[in-house]
């Protein structure tokens, strides 16, 4: 190891390596380990990307998409920053607001990138345990004293639990004004209708609220990396200063624009995922397998990954070990295409039956 790499390794010693969800040898629909949208983007997006490939010699221009997105969200472009995936927002927050004197609050377990960017910045982390699979908002508030950032995924990954509008308002209004609450809504579209927290209305009221979202999940654009943040215009302006000028590439902008232009595809796929999640949770209840009730496109079940993998891997189906996500003894399963989920149900049914015999 060279002196430089030794120094780098020393500085990054507390930063965990990210382990992405694996795919096995099966078809694309068999990957239930990364919460991707298994039907992929709609025909309009595929067609738009094909046509746009001729223009990739030019630097991307984001204003048209920015305006389109702002209009669809009914906010101003100044309240909005687009990014190279939602993860880039996490890095920008850390670069802009955190250093070695900072404290951040995360849930435990937490989305790993939130902790990773905080550790890279040298910040201290306060971990607030998820209790019985749900957010402990009171404990989050109690931990906020002296903190610079609270990372708050809602729905939460890897449990799928959600906080209500009332809880979110209480959290933001209770923490110090100089503490930024980062509400990660990557899985928002999967929340059952009627239960979506009203958060956009809080933007004007609370300058210490930043909402981040992604087009990787319900919009099925994980491969092109496209996310965004919504917040107070003066904070957004600072984040924009830090962001690389062309961090969102031209194909991502075209894909995002085409997807937003035909939301019916997203609505259809989300409706199927919600129905598939309900079917899967009913099945788990029926056969007595413990799970965390989810409002996301995954369900986390209390089965050791090695056990579940022993019946799903032969079918080419991959799932996410809870050990990778801070939930040892559990397995996170993306709600996938209906035929894949039929195989998953059969395999779990056989596993449980064999264990009971």
């Amino acid at each position: 190891m060279s002196m430089i790499s030794e120094r780098a390794a020393h500085r990054m010693r507390s930063v965990p390596t990210y382990k992405p969800g694996r795919a096995l040898a099966g078809h694309a629909t068999s990957k239930l380990s990364a919460n991707e949208s298994v039907l992929g983007p709609g025909p309009a997006v595929i067609s738009a990307i094909s046509h746009a490939s001729r223009g990739i010699s030019s630097y991307p221009t984001e204003s048209a998409f920015l305006n389109q997105l702002a209009q669809s969200l009914q906010i101003t472009p100044e309240q909005l920053l687009i990014s190279n995936g939602s993860d880039e927002i996490c890095f920008l927050i850390a670069q802009t607001l955190l250093d070695s004197s900072s404290i951040v609050v995360v849930s435990d377990p937490a989305y790993q990138i939130d902790a990773t960017v905080s550790l890279i910045a040298g910040s201290d982390i306060r971990r607030v345990p998820i209790v019985n699979g749900v957010h402990d908002v009171e404990a989050m508030i109690a931990s906020a004293h002296g903190a610079s950032v609270i990372w708050f995924p809602n729905p939460h990954n890897p449990t799928g639990t959600i906080a209500t509008s009332t809880q979110i308002r209480k959290l933001i209004s209770s923490v110090p004004e100089d503490c930024l609450v980062v509400l990660d809504e990557a899985y928002r579209d999967y929340i059952s209708p009627g239960f979506e927290p009203d958060v956009l209305s809080l933007l004007d009221e609370f300058p210490n609220l930043l909402i981040q979202r992604t087009l990787s999940k319900s919009w099925a654009l994980a491969g092109v990396r496209l996310g965004y943040a919504m917040g107070d215009p003066s904070l957004i302006a600072q984040l924009r200063r830090v962001r690389a000028p062309f961090s969102v590439n031209a194909l991502a902008l075209v894909a995002g624009s085409a997807a937003l232009g035909r939301p019916a595809w997203k609505d259809m796929t989300v409706a199927r995922i919600r129905a598939g999640r309900e079917l899967f949770e009913n099945f788990l209840t029926e056969i007595g397998v413990e799970f965390l009730p989810s409002q996301a496109n995954f369900v986390t079940v209390r089965i050791q990954h090695e056990h579940i993998n022993s019946v799903l891997a032969p079918l080419g189906i991959s799932t996410r070990p809870g050990d990778d996500l801070g939930l040892p003894g559990w397995t996170r399963i993306t709600i996938g295409w209906a035929p894949t989920m039929a195989l998953v149900r059969q395999a779990i049914h056989n596993l449980v039956r064999n264990n009971n015999n």
């Binding site: 025909p43 609505d267 259809m268």
Partner: protein, 325 residues
Amino acid sequence: MSVAQSSGLNLSQDLQRSIAVREVADPTAGFARVRLHWAGVCGSDLHVLRTGDWVSYWPAVLGHEGVGVVESCPGGELEIGTPVVVDSRVGCGQCSGCQTSPMLCDSLQWVGEVSPGTFQNVANFPVGSLVACPADIDMCTAVLAEPLAVALHAVALSGALPEHILILGFGPIGALVYSELRRQQPSAQIFVEEIHPDRIQLATAVGAHVVSPDSGLYPLVIDAAGYPGSFQHSLDAVNVGGTVTLVGIGHTTEIIRPQQIVEKSVQIHGSHGFTDELPDAVCLISESPEQYRWVISDAWSLDEFLGEVSNMLTQPTVGKAVLSL
């Protein structure tokens, strides 16, 4: 090879449904034993489950859309392990029509109705009724090959495709007809009439223009619904000199005005099943499975299906329902 056990969905003559195990004898020369992986549930299966129509043996094992893997083939025509799609047509093999295509048989019957079908996990089929698939085919999507062949046939019969086309109904056949029209004629404006809200959402999602009845006149109308009155509605909706293709099977007696057919110089095609499109359908699915997966909306094991059937008989699924075997 020994006698195999096959677990399947039995339909008794008094229309009771149950899961039962039956023995499947060793295949003889000219036949292959297939380990079925997936079966598709067709509207005609639901009709038979409701009525018992067309069945000539009891208890029956229905299902005519299926994909699986060859387990045994005494004649060696198919290699063990080859994925295959079932060609469900059973022609008499003796009439003059059969010399051209099983579809023109005077007494055409279907797997499931005349012999045990695909709602089971092991069955013997004539080698000539199996279409070999590429080894890496996505087996579940391949279960769409038979209904896709039906759609390809309907589109082929419709002749040169115009720029404006109306499809009646966006069930699985309507969806696959749409998919083929879009593939052949990317620039076409394809309109859909449908009343089921989730099917309207699906049609809109894939880029069809959902319209209400009496939205205008079209040079080509494809009736993929077969609801009472749909034939007359197709005649009302077609242009002078236009074409009406009927692929949905209507079971009711229709009152039509022949004058309209004459005065509009309408060409009418009845599109039943398919001729030689099944291998083409396999190729299309093999090359681009992602183009077709959205057509499948529901999937169950046989046990689950037993509990779901009564729902399906009253409320159709949005897209194709398939069974994991």
